[in-house]
Structure formats: C-alpha cells, structure tokens
C-alpha cells in the first residue's frame, strides 16, 4: 500500500493575516487520524536540509554541488490583482531557502563521521515549493498611505551602493522586514515559507487573488517499506535492500547525529580526532619498545627473567586500559528524551517565523512591543506570560489584523523520539499551546536584530532549567538544546563529540574519547598503569646505567664513572629523561584524579566549585589551604573508602543506546529518497 495522495489544504483566506506559518510537513499523518487534504502533494517526510536542497532545485537554483546557477525565471509583471511591483517576483519564483548548515560549526573545523547513509537519489524528482502568502498589508503597498512603518520602499529608491560584504554585515542591524527586503535586493537567499496549500475554498472563503497557481511539494516516494522495490532501484542500490526487495533496516550508530566514530561495525565508540590518539599511542609504545630493545636484554640475562615478564605485564596493562578508555561508550545519554513530541505532520520553521513576526511588528508603525519580554525565554512563570498577552491584546490596534498567531499543529499522540536523532535542527520548533497548567514556558522566539517579538507567539519550549534537590542541595538541571534532554545532575554536554554524557569528567584529547561514568574506571587504571610502568622503567633504566659500575662481571663498565656509563648507553639516558618528564605530567594528573575520586567529584564539578568559591571570597585572600581540600560535593558518600568504592568499583551498566539496533531509517524522519527517477 503506497502512501495515498491527498487533496491539498486550503488556508482560510484571511488575507489580512500578516502572520504566516512556515509549515514544514514532517511526516505522513497516522492512518487513524484523518489527514489534511493535500492535493497532489504526497505525504512528505523531510528534514530542513533536504527541504532546502529540494527547494533550491525546485526553483531552478541548484544546490552548490550542481552545475552552475540556472537562470532565474523572470517574475511576471502582469500578475492579476497584484499592485505590488516588488512582490511580483513571488508569483513565479519564490526566493530560495537559505543554506542552513546541518551541523553547528564549531570553529575548529570539526570532522564528522556522517552517517554512511546519504540519499540515494542525486536529484529529487519534481519538487516545488509554495511561496509565502504575502500579506497585502505590507506598508509600501497598501493604500493606507505612507505610514511610518514604511521605512524602506524598494520601488522608490535603490539601496545605497555599498559593496555586498558591507551590505551583508550591516543587514543585521536592520529590522527584520528590512532585512528581508535587503536580502531580496541583493539577490540573496531569503527564508521561504513552505506551505502546502491549494486554491480551493473552505468555509466559503475565496482564495486570495494574489496567488496564482503555485507549485506543490511532491515528495519522492520512499520505497521498499510496504511493498518490494522495483528492479531498477534494487540494482542501483543493492546494499540498501534485502533480497526480498524490502528496505533494509539500518543500525542506529549509522544514523545517530553526533561526532563519534564507531569502528568495528558499531561495537566500539571513539571520538573523531584520530591524530592525538595516534600520537599518544606512539608516545607510549615508543619508550616501551626502546626499553625492550636496550634494557630488557640486560635485565633478562643479568638480573632475572621475572623483571622482564613484569615489564611486559605492566606495558600490557597500560595499553589495555588505554584502549578500553578510548573505545568504550562513556555513558552517552540518548537524545530527545525531553523533546516536545513533534506534531504529526507539521513543524514550524522559526527563522521564517521571525520574519513573519517582524512583518507584524513593523506594521505596528515600527514600535517595538513595549510589553514584550526582552529575553527570549520566559521562566515558567505563566502568570507573567498571561498578563503580557493580555496587555498586548489591549495594545493592538483595531486595524491591525495580525496579532498573535499561535499556529499549533501538534497532535501529541506520537511517542517522543528516543533513538531517533534526526530531529530537525533547533530552528525548527514544535509548538504547543500554552496554558496555566502547562509544564512548558512560553518561548517567544527572538527576532533577528534582537527585537522582541510581537504579542504572544505561543511557542512553547521546555524551560531552560529545572531544579531538583540532591541530598538537600538545590541543583539546577539544564536543558540541552542539542540533545533535547534535561541533563541529570552530573551530566554534561561534550562539544567535541556532540553528546550529553553522564557524569562527564572531561573529554580526553589524547585518548580521543570522553571520560564519563562508564569510562572513568578505565581512565584511572590507565593513569595508574602509566605511572607504575614509568616508575618501573625509570628504576630499571637507572639499574642499567648504575649496576654495571659495581659488578665485576661487567668488565666493560666496571668501576667506571657514571658519566662513562651514560656515554656508553646514551639511548638509555634519553629514555630515562623522556620517561621522567612524562611521568611528572601524568603523575600530577594521577594525583589530581585520586583526589577527585576521594571526594567523588568530576573535573567539571571541581572547576565549577573552585569558581564559585572564589566568587564568594570576593577576591579577598584568606589563609586557607588549597581549594581541593575544602570543597565537598553532594555526591560524596561521606567516607573516603566509600567514595573510592563508588567511583571506581560501581558496576558499569550497559550503554544507554544500543548502537547496533536496526531501525527503519524512515522512522527517524530522515528523508532518503530511494525512488529511482522514472
């Protein structure tokens, strides 16, 4: 059974509405819920990235990978009933969607092991995009004359002749609507409102005349789910389908949207920076090898074979602990545990929302809403939000027709996504209505330029913190926007790996992995082994240099000076110095972590407590010992031994995410167009 095409929606032609939702259809509606009537618009499921690519292709502005820029179709000049010259271009070709990077740019050029599941189809079949319903009440076009809300009229004057770069940088200081217009004038990408709609009427309302026939989103049909796939597609992508010609499920680790690398088919897990790890491994193996070549023969022959065996054992301990730390799951918390359940079909693109709200704001004769909150997130003080809303409603003018448009499309019947991590990026919000009992807070998305939004947009978003009591101490749990969870008390988000990790100690660059709850014991063992091995190597290097001076059997060095011995065995001295320097650093880290374990603290907590403590003293120097002895953590068990037992010997629970579980990639909102273009 294929997904049925459905007749399109008609927006009630409240042409006075300035506020426009940007409705991005995410997934097909459930079969038991009657779906919106969508004409010839197949049920779509896509992420904003694919949406953008699709939109660009649809409008003849190919993605950067494709060949050159197609000619942009010229706007029709004689659009019926359209008195606005500058919006004529919307009739034919809506401005394309800006490129929104899927991953956050982390400045130092993160490499990412992106899922090896790229779209099979290079080109989307016939995807087109609706243009936004521009409000007729745009200031420069309406017959209400020049209000002060028409600061910028494209038709009248050209923007000042600046270079493109200057223009681009100065755009951010304009109001949102002006930004949009400037971008249009610069032929830059302007966020589009993607709405599936049809021209038929509902409830007797007639369609607006401003919008001639507009193209419609047609999704490529994902195949291989309900019925076997055809031969052509199967032959083109044999690995994607089973022998039954049905879509093959994909293990989670291939689809999870983070920066870790999963070698060995998902059985191991490590970070995405191999070079520091290889360097560290080399720095440990090199002295071991040198020691084995230059000192071990002497130990074997002159001292005892047991010393060599012990050396090999310690070296093996070190390397095994290192590899266990580097390649085990540190305790990654699955995502979307506290995400708002996405609506059945629709999400809201906040970026375009900003512009729409900006249009509303500007049509209020350019007054920033005085009663609006300055900061984007309210606390969960809904009474304040409510009073704000009522205040705003009083502020509205009668002629202004936009007001607050809580476009709520949520049908909270789908389960929150747990391992499904392909939720669209944070600029796509899922809106839920607000009410006094709602556990969520009102979130008014900030407009570009930092302006406060118009009257209550009714976006609901989880409050940014939540307070719990840990042993009587109030602890704030923060909401992680990337992972969409409230972080448990000791968890932290690792920016290098893009995960929230339970009890994150730190991200160890040299081991290439986080050190978290599941990992810490191996990390500490590694430190301990390195110190042990280094001390052993120092001891026996010294033995190698000094013992021959005192043994008559070693006629070569007998009763010579230490300097001569060194001259005869320079490599051993070099090794000695190298190991000594290293053990100084590793030893201090080892001591530090020993102290942390004694207090059952993580590095983050230690650093945070130190900052807090310094804040309390206000800079005054008190006679006190080192900070590390004065701080206490609510997680400590009270006794040193108890902390040691808990810190090192707690059982390591299995990973929270079963990386090898095979899931239907379709189920995680990732659009993988498998249909072969006919």
């Amino acid at each position: 059974m294929t997904r049925a095409t459905q007749p399109p929606l008609t927006p009630p032609a409240a042409a006075q509405d300035i506020y426009r939702p940007t409705i991005v259809q995410l997934s097909p509606a459930r079969s038991d819920v009657p779906s919106p009537e969508l004409s010839s618009t197949e049920q779509i499921r896509y992420t904003p990235r694919t949406l953008i690519e699709a939109a660009k292709k649809a409008m003849g502005r190919p993605h950067s990978q494709e060949q050159g820029r197609d000619t942009v179709s010229k706007p029709s000049t004689a659009a019926s009933g359209d008195k606005r010259p500058d919006t004529a271009q919307y009739n034919e070709e809506p401005p394309p969607v800006p490129h929104m990077p899927l991953a956050q740019k982390l400045g130092d050029g993160q490499r990412r092991y992106i899922s090896s599941y790229p779209p099979l189809n290079e080109s989307f079949p016939k995807l087109t995009l609706h243009s936004p319903q521009l409000p007729p009440a745009l200031p420069w076009s309406s017959d209400q004359g020049s209000s002060s809300a028409a600061p910028f009229a494209l038709a009248d004057k050209q923007p000042a002749k600046k270079s493109d770069d200057m223009k681009r940088s100065s755009i951010q200081f304009l109001g949102p609507q002006r930004q949009m217009l400037m971008r249009m004038s610069m032929n830059e990408d302007v966020p589009v409102v993607a709405v599936s709609q049809e021209r038929s009427s509902i409830g007797g309302e007639t369609a607006t005349p401003n919008h001639p026939q507009q193209p419609v989103f047609q999704a490529p049909k994902p195949v291989g789910i309900y019925e076997p796939v055809d031969d052509k597609t199967y032959e083109k992508h044999p690995s994607r389908f089973t022998s039954d010609r049905m879509r093959r499920k994909v293990p989670i680790y291939k689809l999870y949207d983070h920066f870790n690398w999963h070698p060995l088919r998902g059985r191991l897990l490590t970070g995405n920076r191999p070079l520091p790890f290889i360097m560290a491994l080399a720095m440990i193996i090199a002295p071991i090898v040198v020691f084995a070549i230059f000192v071990c023969p002497y130990m074997w022959s002159e001292i005892h074979i047991v010393t060599v065996i012990l050396f090999i054992y310690f070296a093996a301990l070190t390397i095994s602990s290192m590899l266990m730390t580097s390649f085990s799951d540190p305790g990654i918390i699955p995502r979307n545990l506290d995400a708002l359940a996405p609506p059945d079909n629709y999400a809201i693109d906040v970026r375009a929302q900003h512009h729409a709200l900006g249009a509303a704001a500007l049509s209020h004769s350019d007054q920033p809403a005085g009663s609006a909150q300055g900061r984007p997130r309210c606390s969960s003080d809904t009474t304040a939000a409510e009073s704000d809303c009522t205040r705003r409603s009083k502020d509205e003018k009668g002629t202004h027709s936009s007001g607050a448009k809580p476009h709520v499309f949520c049908r909270d019947r789908r389960p929150p996504l747990r391992y499904y991590n392909k939720l669209p990026p944070p600029w796509v919000q899922f809106a839920l209505p607000g009410d006094a009992d709602s556990p969520l807070s009102v979130y008014d998305p900030p407009l570009p330029g930092g302006r406060a939004p118009e009257s209550g947009s009714h976006f609901m978003y989880p409050p940014s913190t939540k307070v719990v009591k840990v042993k009587g101490v109030d602890v704030r749990l923060k909401y992680c926007d990337t992972c969409r969870i409230y972080r448990p008390p000791r968890a932290s988000h690792c920016r290098i790996c893009d995960n929230c990790v339970e009890a994150l100690d730190h991200h160890c660059l040299w081991l290439g992995n986080d050190v978290g709850r599941r990992n810490y014991r191996y990390f500490y063992s590694f430190l301990f082994s390195v110190v042990l091995l280094a001390l052993y190597m120092i001891a026996f290097s010294l033995v190698r240099l000094i013992l021959p001076l005192h043994r008559p059997e070693d006629s070569y060095d007998y009763q010579k000076s230490f300097g001569t011995s060194v001259k005869h065995h320079p490599v051993v001295l070099a090794l000695l110095i190298y190991v000594f320097l290293n053990v100084t650093m590793v030893g201090s880290l080892f001591t530090y972590h020993t102290l942390l374990i004694s207090r059952n603290m993580t590095t983050h907590e230690m650093i945070g407590a130190r900052h807090a403590d310094r804040g309390d003293t206000g800079g005054s120097k008190r006679l006190r010992g080192p900070f590390i002895f004065d701080m206490d953590s609510p997680y400590s068990k009270g006794s040193c031994l108890g902390n040691w037992a808990t810190g090192l010997c707690h059982p390591i629970l299995p990973t929270s995410i079963k990386w090898g579980t095979r899931v239907d990639p379709e189920g995680i909102e990732e659009m993988i167009p498998l249909a072969h273009p006919a």
Binding site: L9, G403, D435, I657
Partner: protein, 159 residues
C-alpha cells in the same frame, strides 16, 4: 473577553491549516485554558536525586493516575523497582572484586565473567512487563521500560 487569551483561537483569525474548521478534529489549540494533562498522554515518574546520584525514582503517584489506579500497588511497584536498581548499582564487594579482576587480567575476564548487574537489569525488565500486564493495562496505561529511557524517568502512556 475570552476565558483565556487565545481560547477561541488567535485574535484576528487564523490561518491554521489544521484548525478544527478544516478537519473537524480537536487540536491541541482547543485545550488552551484546559489543563495540559489533557493533551499530554504521557506521564512521567521522575528520578529521585535526594539520595545522590543513584538511579532511584520518586515513589509517588502522578496526578493523572491518581484516581484510576491502585495507589498502594503502584507505590509497591516503584519501591521494588528502586530496590532492584539499587542492587544492580551497588558497589558491593563482589563488584569490587570483579573490577580488580578485570584490571589484572587485562579486561579479558569481562568477556568471560557475566556481570552481575545484567541479570538484575533483565529482572527489572521482566518486572515492568509483568506489572504492565497485570496492573497497568487493565487500568488503561502502559509503562515503558525505563531501560529505553536510560533510567532517566519512567514514562507511562495513557492508552
């Protein structure tokens, strides 16, 4: 004056494509002014951090369940769950030995010796399944195995 701002829909009209006029279906917009619990068909039992970092759940009956389920049985279920979790997570002598053995044998013993907590985790899952069948589903709920939520909360679905 509407009962709640937005109770009748957004002032000035709406272009809500999923509005009730379009489909005749109740949307979440209808519940403005009503308790959010009517929308949210998922109930959570949160973690209890009062004893520290261990995984324990607050032994309390959520308000959505209060009239519809036997409270004593529910609390007993939670207490049993907590006890099993504490047993799985405790730093007992056996766990200490297991850790030292693993380190000494270069972690090869982890392949051989089955960790004690795994059995406990399986017991927890079977407990949840059993209680689902006997206690929750007759009352119209379904408890999602907390293993799936990394033991961050217990999620109960209102069926």
């Amino acid at each position: 004056m509407p009962r709640h701002y937005g109770a009748d829909g957004p002032p000035g009209g709406t272009t809500d494509l999923l509005g009730p006029k379009t489909y005749g279906l109740p949307t979440t917009g209808d519940a403005i002014g009503h308790p959010a619990s009517e929308l949210w068909r998922r109930v959570r039992v949160e973690r209890d951090y009062s004893q520290g970092d261990e995984r324990q759940f607050v032994v309390a009956v959520p308000e959505q369940l209060s009239g519809r389920i036997d409270e004593q049985k529910f609390k007993r279920f939670l207490r049993r769950l907590n006890a099993m979790l504490a047993e799985a997570e405790g730093a007992t002598f056996r766990n200490v030995l297991e850790g030292v053995l693993a380190y000494a044998t270069l972690y090869i013993s982890t392949l051989v010796v089955k960790p004690h907590f795994k059995k406990t985790i399986e017991r927890i899952s079977s407990l949840v399944a059993h209680e689902n069948k006997t206690l929750f589903e007759p009352a119209g709920f379904s408890v999602i195995d907390p293993l799936q939520t990394a033991y961050m909360f217990i999620e109960i679905v209102i069926l």
